[in-house]
């Protein structure tokens, strides 16, 4: 057990937790009966994916992906005189977190809230039409509706 933890769990701690959170979300999306509970589960499911992406952009000992003003002002004269090749050494990529996953996840967060908004609107309409937000009651009413016809 000990070596398993050292090799498989500790170096990937964030990834294990992301799987757990994701499964909690997915389970409640499928199993919960209340529509709003389902939606909270869906949001949690989506944030788990954000956790995956942001985790894979982390670098040990790196700072936030906003360039240091001092580094920039010192290096700018060399840039103009000796071209971009020289400039590449002025900024050490290991000092800054990987910005690309952050950009992707900004998009995903916005998509998530948009989806949540639409889903909540649908929930309100379902409540208006059926008087309940429990899925089994809605399905029973639909069945009754179908039998009448």
């Amino acid at each position: 057990m000990q070596p398993f933890f050292q090799e498989a769990v500790i170096p990937h701690f964030n990834f294990w937790i992301y799987v757990i959170i994701m499964m909690v979300g997915l389970w409640s999306v499928i199993a919960k009966n209340n529509l709003i509970k389902k939606l909270i589960g869906l949001s949690i499911f989506q944030t788990a994916i954000l956790l995956l992406y942001v985790s894979l952009g982390v670098k040990e000992g790196a700072t936030i992906p906003v360039l240091d003003h001092h580094a920039l002002t010192e290096s700018s004269p060399t840039e103009s005189s000796e071209g971009p090749g020289k400039k590449a050494h002025a900024i050490n990529p290991d000092h800054y977190a990987n910005p690309l996953p952050h950009v992707l996840m900004l998009t995903a967060i916005v998509v998530g809230v948009a989806t949540l908004g639409v889903a909540l609107a649908l929930t309100q309409m379902i409540y208006k039409d059926f008087g309940t937000i429990e899925e089994d009651e809605v399905l029973n009413q639909i069945k009754a509706l179908h039998d009448d016809v």
Binding site: F13, N14, I21, N34, I40, I44, T47, L51, G57, Y127
Partner: protein
């Protein structure tokens, strides 16, 4: 990135997720979902993703919770599970 901080937040995150999905009072679930949002915002900040943290704080913890609460007040507060 601070590993202890990271682990503490992650553990709280799992707890918040499970509680918010298991309470029967939907308003409480929405509030705990807001807490979940703030925790995950802290986690982003801790991992160096400040822009994502900013967005999560406004969108995830702020607007999402308000929207859920608005819906709960317009429908019903009790849930069977």
């Amino acid at each position: 990135m601070i590993v202890t901080f990271d682990i503490i937040i992650l553990v709280f995150l799992v707890i918040a997720a499970i509680i918010s999905l298991s309470v029967k009072d939907l308003l409480a679930a929405a509030m705990i979902f807001g807490i979940y949002g703030f925790l995950i915002c802290l986690l982003w900040a801790e991992m160096g993703a400040v822009d994502v943290a900013f967005t999560e704080a406004t969108v995830g913890a702020g607007v999402s919770t308000v929207l859920i609460v608005a819906t709960i007040l317009n429908t019903r507060r009790k849930s069977t599970d």
